[in-house]
Symmetry: C2
Subunit: 400 residues, 2 copies
């Protein structure tokens, strides 16, 4: 006798996925759209609390779908069908049909963060306009409908300039190009002719910082300590918590981010990427979901960003967000051109005492985030050295 | 188009379960027999390392099966069929067919811990005989084949006595009865006539302690700090780490347990339940799997017992086992006669700052472990107070 759920029909349908979903006993029917590593870690945080989220995967080999029961829908109304099986919907990425999202929300689906926040994270022109109108510090920017817009802008701001895709891209595609002159800029424009582009002034950046906060529907919010990033070839390489900044910058980044979260009515985790420039803090990007710069909170804070995201979107009390150690470093494990699989080097990496190894179960492809390591230390140099040794071991290298 | 795994046939078969299993990309094909909360937390620890264990569930509503893809086999050769899909098999309980286990091991299946260790945890008469022969401190004991054995034993050791089921029972059934006189003893024997029983001397217990250790196949091992239990009605109520004992007792418990682990060739987590008596340490029970007394390691140690169990059974380097705080308290969340569901009280419990809430997704039944809370403190009173407040909140009570 099969003691479990009823057998699926030959062709999976929205009805079947719903019937499976409704069978799972869960206090809160939480659905997560997306099934990569962010969903994988969010799922784990929810399970700890006794909550079994449903996952909307694109593929059953997605990182989170490997580790948790997941639903895959393939018809055009995927999100709508998924939403029907859940009481609250949240996201691990912003690559969404905003029109559909808005319609679902208008029809009463509880979407957290809401369409307003997701739009600001997804559409960077929209975001810049909203923030500028509300007096937030953003770089000078302009829409690029053609070469004239670009040349007008360069006439004011000179070179280099930053070209950006207006819409969030696929994972691994940041959609940001620093261009030194008109020729380079026109080349990027022609290569990216299918995408809507915008241009921004190039800022002299002292530090790249991220403020991760969690906010409930009613507005109560908690900030994690500000962190500092090392960027390598456009991708986050190393995250250091707390950031080595003075009290003034730390406080200002917190106040700015909380004000921004209120402005966007953010719910869940909001990650505010900031540039510290010689002219002060400037908002770079927003993510309305758990963020790479918050992975350190799994071991380094009493409540991880993933657990606080779950708590916030379900309107449950938020947990404490302080750092439990003086220095915490996270390093991303990135797929390289050698196609080295860090899982093959797990035995070596696990010998690095006190480094926490997280692997996402993904096939190693160049530029792909395959995992991360976190190390906790009494000072930054110690944590950094541990994390670097572990990351190097996973990639079959000696530590930098 | 369905992008995932092939659709299952109408009737799930061992072949189908194997085909699903073999499709999952995993460096280490680890199988966990059992799918309750121990498997649920072990699965999470494995997923962190990029490993996707298969679960052998009895029911798809089991705690771990709710949160992870699981296989359910119902035919008599369930374990054998499951073993074929895995490279390493481990367990979350000892209620196993030892003959089948031995045959699988003889046929080359990698079973960790091995049959020798599982037998010692499962069959308490066997365990007592082995330990006594090797000079380990155990209570006086005797097999009870009938009333004469019992009366002979009481002639030497007087009353009260401890009657025990020789075999591990189902969860929630500890199979231990303290009997005050012959009449009570005979009543228990008649009620438990279907079970094989043994009798032990009743010891004056100063403290109940547990030493949790992890051991690799080659013999390298690491001990977690000794913990102290509060027992309520035969069930573990509260776990305090570290135990309030002197250096001598802490050292002796460690040495005793490591020697025992070597003797049994234990692999994975071995939990040694000890009585501290006025005559020193006595071995009470063994568990050859992650143990309730080690749940605190999820937040209170650099490597949880679950991660070290996974590492040990896969023969990977063990992680550090120290306590990261001066005082850590875990309290079990037990189902009561009022059928209160702690999930209904999650909002209240989450307001207890710094308490870690773990719920297992189980239906609330009397005597069932539904979850646990862990609190970390600067001293034991603080940790205890936090944990008690969180547990009380989950059960809709005021703190004790």
């Amino acid at each position: 006798m099969n003691q479990g759920r009823p057998l699926p029909p030959k062709t999976p349908s929205a009805e079947y996925a719903r019937s499976v979903a409704s069978e799972l006993p869960a206090l809160y029917k939480l659905g997560i759209v997306g099934a990569s590593q962010i969903a994988r870690m969010t799922h784990q945080a929810a399970v700890k609390l006794g909550i079994t989220p449903r996952l909307l995967a694109e593929d059953l080999h997605d990182s989170a779908a490997l580790a948790a029961p997941a639903a895959v829908f393939s018809h055009p109304d995927a999100l709508a069908a998924f939403a029907e099986s859940c009481e609250v919907i949240t996201f691990e990425h912003e690559r969404l049909d905003l029109g559909l999202l808005q319609r679902l929300e208008d029809d009463g689906t509880v979407i957290r963060p809401g369409t307003r926040t997701v739009r600001a994270a997804f559409d960077k022109m929209h975001q810049r306009r909203v923030l500028l109108n509300r007096g937030f510090p953003v770089p000078a920017f302009a829409e690029v409908r053609g070469p004239d817009d670009l040349l007008d802008f360069s006439g004011v701001y000179g070179w280099p300039l930053v070209l950006k895709s207006v819409r969030s891209g696929e994972p691994g595609d940041r959609g940001v190009w620093i261009v030194e002159n008109a020729q380079e800029a026109l080349r990027v424009m022609s290569e990216q002719s299918s995408r809507q582009l915008m241009v921004e002034e190039y800022l002299a950046i002292v530090k790249e910082l991220v403020l991760v906060l969690a906010r409930r529907p009613g507005g109560s919010a908690r900030c994690y300590p500000l962190v500092e990033l090392s960027i390598d070839d456009g991708a986050i390489k190393e995250i250091r918590a707390p950031a080595a900044v003075g009290h003034h910058v730390a406080t200002e980044s917190r106040e700015l981010s909380l004000r921004l979260a209120d402005e966007l009515e953010a719910v869940g985790i909001l990650a505010v990427e900031l540039f510290l420039t010689t002219n002060g803090l400037i908002i770079n990007e927003l993510a309305a979901r758990p963020h790479n710069a918050g992975h350190w909170t799994i071991e380094g804070a009493p409540t991880s960003q993933f657990e606080n995201h779950v708590r916030a979107v379900l309107d449950l009390p938020l947990g404490p967000t302080w750092a439990t150690a003086p220095a915490i470093v996270t390093i991303n494990v990135m797929g390289g051109l050698e196609f080295i699989d860090p899982a093959d080097h797990l035995p070596e990496a696990l010998t690095v005492e006190g480094a926490q190894i997280h692997l996402y179960g993904k096939q190693p492809l160049p530029g792909r985030k395959l995992g991360h390591v976190t190390a906790i230390g009494d000072d930054m140099a110690q944590a950094q050295s541990l994390a670097r040794r572990a990351e190097a071991a996973l990639m079959g290298r000696r530590a930098w």
